[in-house]
Amino acid sequence: MAGVKRSLAVDVGGVLLPTPVMIASGCAGTGRELAGLVDPHKLGAIVSRSVTLAPRKGTPTPRIAESASGIVWSTGLQNPGIEVFVKEELPRLVHTGAPVIVSIAGGTMEEYVRLTSLLQARPGVVAIETQISGRDEELGREVLASRPDRAAEIVGAVARMSMIPVFAKLPLLADVVEVARGCVRAGATGLTLIDALPALGVTASRLRPSLGSVSGWLSGPAIRPVALRAVFDVASAMPDVPILGCGGVRTGEDAVEMMLAGAWAVQVGTATVVDPGAPVNVATGVLAYLKEKGLASPADLRGRLRLPAAPDPEGSW
């Protein structure tokens, strides 16, 4: 394949990334830790931990428990608050040299709007990711994004205000396509699919929940097929909307599968916690696959999934 200029760079809704593999939210430390562990120039992007308006101490320990091929965790969004974040943590993240996506989280519309306003014109920040899986303090619902109209309202407010692209990170809901459509109509540039699944760990020998916060979230390879399905469904419904596939990716092959299902790029979370070198290894794996198949860019993987011809309405019998 001499003559083909092969590159890992991808354009995700106007955001140019050196590779399609980024570190998922909450797995990139505070900007100090990564430098010694991985070459940031080989990362697609770093998604910051979710930042809230006020500082959060997070949940009591233990915050992590293992389950089969996954981790049940809850950190309670421990973060120093947006003001300290933009003053101390953000410059460090930007300084690593990788594009930075800032993840924001809140309980009310006002919080999201104020967070967005405080993130305007910050050099090095290429996009905002809205984490909308938390509790809705205004309407008293358990999950902010549980209804398409509410998700669209929040994401729309952020998107109207933001001068940089906005990605809505969605939890897995029965109607993920409807919620996704609502967010995109409201102005989201793209979607991150999926947020961790609600989970509980139990330690039978001690008659106790495994986590200090009792309930938590499941991440890791255990949720990968679930994420693939969500990416596939949304990508099939809206092929032109950039999707960041997130959930259990730990090898180049996993990332390729995610992109074949319709993702434009992938986020690596749990695998980064297990091995900080994972995002770079995943990108290397993607490059090897492109080489093997004679493709020029990760964008060529999208829509390459060979589906069976028109399904038989009478069923497969």
Binding site: R49, R63, S69, T75, Q78, P221, T270, V273
Partner: protein, 290 residues
């Protein structure tokens, strides 16, 4: 910190514990007492997270130069897998991680208090203290004889020592806390180092605060990444200016902390039980009513 593929030089049983010695010169020559290593789990298993162990021994010189030893008690899936590791196998190791113990500059009498395999990191510390011409005394303890970690090595490294077991199978009957006040008084201890489970560390901390003895403890908290990425292993530590506290990560801000600043009550506030225990005096309902 270095990531390396290390050959297992030897795998041994030490009482109730297992000990692995690795050939890992890059890690060994940087290691300090109190620091730990992360051991990667095999890729084809369903338990993913690396396991973290205090460094028990890191030899920089002599016939064992470049080797690293850590100890553990098999319990979960990961440690059970490690317990089956044999010499000449390979492990992916990252280390040394965390901040180690600080050594006293002026004070000389050091008392090392350890419960169970907490002693592993304190023996390494004892060697470094002896090199710095400090006096080392030890209080070692555990539930039973097999769980007292290498008592002979402890005796070799300390000027005086007390060994305590809860069932009296080795040394005196009792816990390290029973022997602590007398040992501290007899040895004229000026600095106390402690390692072990949190409830014991809390009591050592209370003792040190009462007697105004400077102390350092190495905490045990469940870790995931071990390098500061995930904020799983936090310990509430009071700020120096007294304006509240921060949840500091044991893996990068610790695992060695000043016990006087750790908010023990907040840290150890236990996970709620799923089945509440009936208050004393009330009859326990053994079957469902009706």
């Amino acid at each position: 910190m270095r990531r390396t593929r290390a050959e297992i030089l030897s795998a041994r049983r030490v009482g109730a514990y297992h000990s692995l010695t690795l050939v890992a010169p890059e890690v060994a020559e940087r290691a300090r007492p109190g620091q730990f290593v992360a051991v990667q789990m095999p890729e084809d298993r369903d338990y993913l997270l690396p396991r973290h162990f205090s460094i028990h021994q890191a030899s920089r010189r002599g016939g064992w130069a470049g080797t690293l030893e850590f100890c553990f008690e098999p319990g979960g899936k990961g440690t059970t897998w490690l317990a089956n590791a044999r010499a000449h196998g390979f492990l992916d190791v990252t280390g040394p991680l965390g901040k180690g113990f600080a050594y006293p500059k002026r004070l000389t009498n050091c008392l090392l208090v350890a419960e169970g395999h907490g002693a592993a990191s304190l023996y390494f510390l004892a060697q470094e203290l002896l090199v710095r011409e400090k006096r080392v005394d030890m209080v070692l303890g555990a539930g039973t004889m097999e769980r007292v970690f290498k008592p002979i090595e402890g005796k070799r490294l300390s000027q005086t020592n007390a060994i305590m077991t809860e069932d009296g199978t080795l040394g005196d009957r009792g816990t390290v806390l029973d022997a602590l006040p007398e040992m501290a008084a007899r040895c004229g201890s000026e600095v106390i180092y402690a390692a072990g489970p949190a409830p014991m560390l809390e009591k050592v901390a209370a003792f040190c605060r009462e007697r105004r003895i400077p102390a350092q403890v190495v905490v045990e908290e469940r870790m995931a990444c071990g390098v500061g990425l995930c904020h799983s292993c936090v310990v509430p530590v009071a700020r120096k200016d007294g304006s509240g506290y921060d949840n500091l990560r044991a893996c990068v801000d610790g695992p060695v902390f000043n016990p006087a600043r750790v908010l023990w009550d907040r840290w150890m506030s236990d996970v709620p039980t799923m089945i509440p225990t009936p208050p004393e005096g009330l009859p326990v309902v053994r079957s469902w009513p009706g």
